[in-house]
């Protein structure tokens, strides 16, 4: 539903100073097309984890914008990523979402490609093409750049994009290493489901440590999430439909000890510190943080982080999961949950991680059932011409966030805040301008105050 937002004037849509976002960006079709081009057509996007494709011929399909990409393990152990489209007439080469194969044969005319993407077979090529076809020209199209960062396979459609290490930067590498440095493998089974909402609302929520006490109140109510008498916070006048004051069930952590990280290209992190998380009964003993290789990989700031990270635009990393938010349309987003267990996990620890993943997030998760409802209804209201004019607010702790630039990372120590969300939208506006990579890097350099 186009609302005539001028995608060339995106600065008017996001105000870092006022903490206000123009809600029309959550359903505008022109904006969405620009996002596919300027963001999903350029950024490094997550494809899969290397443990999903351990053997030669193993493949896994992931969308990059509207392109479908096959990530394939090669005979020599390396990994390649191809567009899942036959170079002859465009048919999807592979219709399975994952599996193992010796070769990819197009079911239209039989053009066949080996694991490396070389064109190795053309039926009746001598009789019909009479030797006129140069097979070397028609191998599968590889994505312009692909990289395996510590087991996490990313790709970009922009040949001019900086290397993955530079795109991630110190902060982004730290976010991935918070999971990767422990030594992890993917649990079979990627949860996939569709929410009728805009993808940016799902990313906004990654950093939102304010909503849990209300949105997920039922999870606290039944004891699924632990509560603490000591951390009971102020209902602030909130009341239910019977006019009764809402009594918040004190959550753990209580939001008083949080850390946000904002970084170049829009990567960010927000949530309780590792210290605050350690007080959570479900957090388990974080012995992995004591291992020398982990300490070296994640650095002194990483050692303090206990919240949620997002690699811009849509790769959310938690302690044991990665959630991709795949934009399908302005008002439709697929959610893909990848779950990790430590390679050295005991059977009990592995089972506990899997159980927690299934029962917290995912469509039947005790928390995410409610999240999808919020994002879908927020998206729907942006179709109203007047409702869409009501700004989306990210004013919490606005102007009070002192940014400490240290160890190559920009962090903010505060109570629960909305800095990481606001930073994400600020970066979104810069991406939408179609800047050069250098200019984009400069435009997303963290300020001293947010």
């Amino acid at each position: 539903m186009a609302t005539n937002v001028d995608a060339d004037h995106v600065d008017a849509l996001v105000s870092l100073e006022r903490g206000e976002i123009d809600r029309r960006i959550f359903s505008d079709e022109e904006i969405f097309e620009q996002e596919l081009k300027q963001i999903f057509g350029r950024a490094w996007l997550f494809l899969c984890h290397e443990t999903q494709i351990p053997k030669a011929g193993d493949f896994f399909e992931t969308p990059m914008g509207r392109d479908n990409v096959l990530t394939v393990r090669q005979k020599d152990g390396s990994i390649r990523a191809f567009l899942n489209t036959c170079t002859h007439r465009g048919n999807a080469l592979c219709r399975a979402e994952e599996g193992n194969t010796k070769a990819f044969m197009c079911t239209y005319h039989g053009w066949s490609f080996n694991l490396g993407g070389d064109l190795i077979g053309i039926p009746d090529s001598d009789l019909f093409y009479k030797g006129d076809i140069d097979r070397s020209k028609y191998g599968l199209r590889r994505v312009p750049q692909m990289a395996n960062y510590h087991g996490f396979v990313f790709a970009t459609m922009d040949a001019a994009a900086p290397p993955i290490e530079d795109f991630l930067g110190t902060a982004g590498r730290m976010f991935v290493d918070l999971v990767a440095a422990r030594g992890v493998q993917v649990v079979p089974g990627i949860q996939k489901f569709v929410i009728d909402c805009n993808w940016k609302l799902t990313v906004d929520n990654v950093f939102d440590w304010y909503h849990g006490q209300i949105t997920h109140m039922s999870a606290f109510g039944i004891g699924f999430l632990p509560t603490s008498e000591e951390s009971v916070t102020d209902g602030g006048g909130a009341q239910d439909t019977l006019g009764r004051k809402i009594e918040l069930r004190g959550s753990i952590p209580d939001g008083r000890d949080e850390m946000a990280v904002i970084a170049e290209y829009g990567h960010a992190h927000s949530g309780p510190t590792a210290r605050a998380v350690a007080a959570h009964p479900l957090s388990g003993v974080q012995k992995w943080r004591e291992r020398p290789e982990v300490i070296e990989a994640i650095g002194p700031v990483g050692m303090q982080l206990g919240g949620h990270s997002n690699i811009f635009p849509t790769c959310w990393l938690t302690k044991s999961q990665l959630s991709l938010r795949v934009p399908i349309s302005p008002t439709r987003t697929e959610i893909w949950w990848f779950t990790f267990v430590d390679n050295d996990a005991t059977p009990e620890s592995r089972a506990a991680t899997i159980s927690q993943a299934i029962h917290v997030f995912g469509p039947a998760g005790f928390l995410e059932q409610e999240d999808g409802e919020n994002w879908a209804q927020a998206t729907k209201q942006t179709h109203g011409a007047r409702s869409a004019q009501v700004p989306h607010l990210l004013k919490m702790d606005l102007g009070r966030g002192t940014v400490v630039h240290e160890h190559g990372v920009s962090r903010i120590e505060s109570t629960t805040n909305e800095h990481a969300q606001l930073w994400t939208f600020h970066a979104w506006a810069q991406w939408m301008k179609g800047l050069s990579w250098d200019a984009l890097h400069a435009a997303t350099a963290p300020p001293d105050v947010i």
């Binding site: 599996g99 079979p188 990627i190």
Partner: protein
């Protein structure tokens, strides 16, 4: 005319084994219809009581696979799933809705559970393996509509003149779940 005579004389000529099978299936169908009525009436407290204390309520993830790899279509227990609940978690799902703050179900969804194609696959005396198909239809709020088809592989444990669900594996006919959530039970 022998068949007509058989019908007119009670019990004569009737295959007693076939009759027992029909009676058993009828009892199971009645059990399933009563169960569906509880779900559609949002009576989860009574519904949870239909499960044994050692039950396993499991909905695996289904994946589009090549025909020759179809044995890997579903994830297995111990891998990721959409539901992987013991009795305590199922009780938690009832209590979550009963808490009054389960916003995804307030206002509640309207659901209709249609159960068909009931087949007794094995009868071990104390327990039965029963497969059934379902169509669960859901509408929410104004225009929101979901439709789920699939089959349930149950282990029903004989318990007096009724049953307890000792295991339920739900095989949904979707790979990407085409809904914003699964706040509905199957």
């Amino acid at each position: 005319m022998t068949s007509l005579q058989a019908e007119t004389v009670p019990g004569a000529g009737i295959d007693q084994r076939a009759l027992a099978t029909m009676v058993l299936r009828s009892r199971i169908e009645t059990f399933y219809y009563d169960e569906a009525a509880l779900l559609d009436a949002h009576n989860y407290e009574e519904w949870v009581r239909l499960f044994s204390d050692d039950t396993h309520y499991f909905m695996p993830i289904r994946r589009t696979r090549l025909r020759r790899e179809l044995h890997k279509e579903f994830t297995q227990p111990g891998e990721m799933a959409f539901f992987d609940d013991d009795k305590a978690i199922l009780v938690g799902r009832w209590k979550k809705v009963a808490d009054g703050t389960s916003w995804a179900e307030d206002p509640p969804s309207r659901t209709r559970h249609l159960i068909t194609n009931v087949r007794v696959v094995a009868d071990r005396g104390d327990e039965l393996d029963v497969e059934s198909n379902f169509h669960v239809y859901r509408t929410r709020l104004k225009s929101e509509e979901d439709s789920w088809f699939g089959c349930r592989h149950d282990v029903l444990r004989r318990c007096g003149d009724t049953f307890l669900i000792a295991r339920r594996h739900i095989l949904l006919d979707q790979t990407i779940v085409l809904s914003r959530n699964l706040s509905t039970l199957f």
